[in-house]
Amino acid sequence: MSIWQRAGAEHLPLRHPLGVWLIQRKLATSAFVPSPQARLPLAGKMPFWYVVNFILAARETREYRVTPGSDFYLFGLLGDSLAQVGGVKAYIYDSKRKQRFSDKPVNSANLVGTASQPFFHRAPYRFPALSPVLIKIQNLGVVANAGQIVLYGVKD
C-alpha cells in the first residue's frame, strides 16, 4: 500500500494516513489519530504550541489560562514536571463552550505525553478565537513542583 494513498474521495488531494508516521503501532493507531479527512481542513495552518508553565507549592492548586488569538485546533497535550513523587493532576476547561475535558482531574501521567511519546486526539478540537482555555493544576506532592503543560495544535 502506498503511504500517499488517496483519502476516501476521488476529488481529495493525496494525504498521508497518519498511522504511517507514528513510530509505535504504526497503522494500528489509525483509530486513535485524526483521520486524513479530519485533517484536510487544517492543511496549511501553522503548527502552534500553547505553553503553561506552572510553579506550585506542596499541595497547592492553581488555575492557569491561555487565550488563543485565532481559532486553535488542539491535537494533543504534552507536559512534564520536575518532582516525580506525587506528581500533579489537572483538568482543562473550554470557557466558551463551558465544557470540561474530564469529570475529575486527571493525573499528569495519564493526561500528557512527551514529544517522543505523544498522544493525539482522534478528532482535533477547536477552541474559538479569544476563548480562554482554563487549566487547573493541583500538586499532589508534599514538596514544591514546577513543570509545563503544552497544548499542541494548529492555528491560522
Binding site: 476529488h11 501553522m46 514529544a115 503544552v150
Partner: protein
C-alpha cells in the same frame, strides 16, 4: 497547486546544532535557511540535547510569528530518531524561508544541542 497532482517527495533533513553556554539562562540562537530550490514539507521534529533543562522557541522568519506563546521545554517539542514527534498536519514551508530557534539553558552545565527538521522536499 493542483490537488490531484502527484508530488515527488524527496526525504530531507534540515539540521542545526550548537552548544548552549553553561551559565544558567544562557541563550543560543540558531537558524535554518531553507534551500531556495523547492518547498519543504515539514513532517517530524527530531532533536538531541545533553540536558533536558533546555527550552526552545521557534520563529518563522517569513511572518515574524513565533510558533508558541512561550518557551517550550525541549523534550515537549522534539522527539528522537526512533521516536520522532509528528506535526500531525505537515506544514509546507516556502523555498528560502527561515526558521529561528531561540534556546535557553536552564541548567548550569554546557548543553550540546542538535535540531533536525525532518520531512520532504517537494518537486512538482
Amino acid at each position: 497547486m493542483n490537488p490531484n497532482e502527484v508530488l515527488d517527495r524527496v526525504p530531507f533533513d534540515y539540521v542545526v546544532g550548537g552548544t548552549v553556554a553553561a551559565p544558567l539562562g544562557s541563550v543560543l540562537t540558531l537558524s535554518i535557511a531553507l534551500d531556495a530550490d523547492r518547498e519543504f514539507e515539514w513532517v517530524w521534529i527530531v532533536g538531541s540535547r545533553t540536558s533536558a533543562l533546555l527550552t526552545v522557541q521557534v520563529t518563522d522568519g517569513a511572518t515574524g510569528k513565533t510558533l508558541s506563546n512561550g518557551p517550550i521545554d525541549f523534550d515537549n517539542w522534539a522527539g528522537t530518531g526512533p521516536l520522532p514527534f509528528p506535526l500531525v498536519e505537515p506544514w509546507v514551508l516556502a523555498p528560502g524561508s527561515t526558521l529561528t530557534f531561540n534556546l535557553v539553558n536552564n541548567s548550569t552545565a554546557l548543553n550540546v544541542v542538535q535540531i533536525v527538521l525532518r520531512g520532504y522536499k517537494l518537486q512538482h
